[in-house]
């Protein structure tokens, strides 16, 4: 895929407006089988909750991969703590999704027994961790989106979602400060740390646009005040990101190719590997408790 590898490799996550060479496998996407959660009977709210939950579950799992491997002990603890918060938020959102869906699926069933095409997370969340700069810059770009997003969702007409969002907003604010602090340190640091932070920003930029995409699925929910149109957050997000980048002596990349597809279940090949690791225990020993 395009991230961190040669651009002529097969690309599974590119949207339909990507250059032809990026999407040889994406033709498959049109034939993605409808999952249990996206069938004709699925409530838009379930879909919206899965989007929120899967961003957090997948990104939380990525962060957990740093456990035992971070550059310093304090950061090992920090990344594991952020992962814990995100996976906790995901668990609450999945539980709510299962209840709204009304088919008896628990949070665990939704986390461990859906396949990649049924996941609704942003492609940004599933990209490999890369070096520390990539992990931190991603965390910064996403958290700068998550904070205002959760803030607005805490006024949702869905009381459960509002409560989960209000709780998550406090946690996300702490994550954003931490990530932004590191962006300043890396960007305005040594020649090496600056170069790596800039490279991370450049490589991740095509994946930020998907955060702000609007589609028909959530339109009735937005109209009813249950969820919000993410495109309304874009302008303020760009200003926030630009102000930190400026202070960090980093250059905000120009907009080029915009990767998308995660919200419809068209993922990069990286998600399958992530899920393989995350789900194997639950699938090998269904119903096990410990």
């Amino acid at each position: 895929m395009g991230y961190g590898s040669a651009p002529d490799e097969p690309e599974t996550g590119a949207g339909s407006d990507a250059p032809e060479r990026y999407r040889p496998v994406s033709e498959r996407a049109a034939a993605v089988r409808p999952s249990a959660s996206t069938g004709e009977h699925a409530a838009p709210l379930v879909e919206a909750l899965l989007r929120l939950a899967d961003d957090r579950l997948v990104l939380g799992h990525r962060l957990s991969e740093w456990c035992g491997h971070a550059p310093i002990l304090e950061e090992d603890i920090a990344l594991a703590n952020i992962a814990l918060d995100l996976i906790g938020q995901a668990s609450l959102l999945l539980e709510h999704a299962g209840q709204v869906e009304g088919r008896g699926r628990s949070a665990d069933a939704l986390a461990y027994f859906r396949d990649a095409v049924e996941f609704r997370n942003l492609l940004l969340a599933e990209l490999p961790n890369g070096d520390f700069a990539v992990t931190i810059v991603r965390q910064f770009l996403w958290s700068a989106f998550a904070v205002p997003h959760l803030k607005q969702l805490s006024a949702s007409a869905d009381a459960t979602l509002a409560g989960i969002a209000a709780k998550g907003h406090k946690e996300a604010t702490y994550h954003l400060r931490h990530a932004a602090d590191w962006v300043l340190k890396l960007g305005d640091g040594t020649v090496e740390s600056h170069a790596r932070a800039q490279r991370a920003l450049d490589e991740l930029w095509p994946y930020v646009h998907e955060m702000f995409r609007t589609d028909d699925v959530e339109a009735p929910l937005v109209a009813a005040g249950v969820t919000i149109d993410p495109s309304t957050l874009q302008l303020a997000w760009r200003e926030s990101v630009a102000s930190v980048c400026r202070a960090a002596t980093l250059k905000v990349p120009g907009d080029g190719w915009k990767a998308q597809g995660g919200r419809e279940g068209r993922h990069t090949e990286h998600l399958g590997h992530l899920l393989g690791e995350m789900q194997i225990l639950a699938r090998s020993h269904p119903g096990a408790e410990w």
Binding site: S91, A162, G168, K170, R177
Partner: protein, 173 residues
């Protein structure tokens, strides 16, 4: 002790004051503000709790301990219900609870200052010095943040140059 036939909410609160947080075993779940309500209904007792952090791994243990303590006190039917709103804040911690924490060696949470709704990035870029956290051991006013994240979701790690001791500090949330 509580009679099984007619439990009184006031007595139940007393029982819950004996249920300690597994990760901060000097504070009870009432001290922490995790227990939001205790209701005596026709169908047993309902305890309403709110989590400190979304992913707090102690939540399940706390639920189990609450049910266990009330059962031992004679309440046959206990249900624990989780509510997220209003979101838990360290401002709910009583002065007595803060003093218990300090005596245990954990710096209590500072009162939250400023506008909680303010843009965290604007606050960051202004580089305002955060409020001082006094050392729980020697009382020195000036201590250093060593790690914004600590051994549990609710704590950070600080260091006191006065007595040269690292210590845990409850995050203001």
């Amino acid at each position: 002790m509580v009679k099984a036939a007619a439990p009184v909410a006031g007595d139940l609160w007393k029982v819950l004051e004996g249920v300690l947080d597994p990760e901060v075993p000097v504070l009870s779940v009432v001290d922490l503000g995790i227990v939001r309500d205790v209701r005596v209904t026709d169908d047993g007792v309902e305890v309403v709790v709110t989590p400190t952090y979304s992913g707090c791994p102690a939540v399940k243990v706390i639920e189990r301990d609450i049910v266990g303590a009330l059962r031992r006190a004679g309440v046959a039917k206990v249900r624990v219900r989780t509510e997220f709103a209003p979101a838990w804040t360290t401002d709910w911690m009583s002065d007595a609870a803060r003093e218990k924490l300090r005596a245990y060696g954990i710096a209590p949470p500072r009162p939250r200052v400023g506008d909680a709704d303010a843009d965290p990035l604007v606050q960051l870029l202004r580089r305002q010095p955060p409020p001082a956290v006094p050392c729980p051991w020697c009382g020195a006013a000036e201590t250093e943040l060593r790690s914004a994240f600590g051994p549990t979701a609710c704590k950070s790690i600080r260091y006191c140059p006065g007595c040269r001791q690292p210590f845990e500090a409850f995050k203001a949330l």
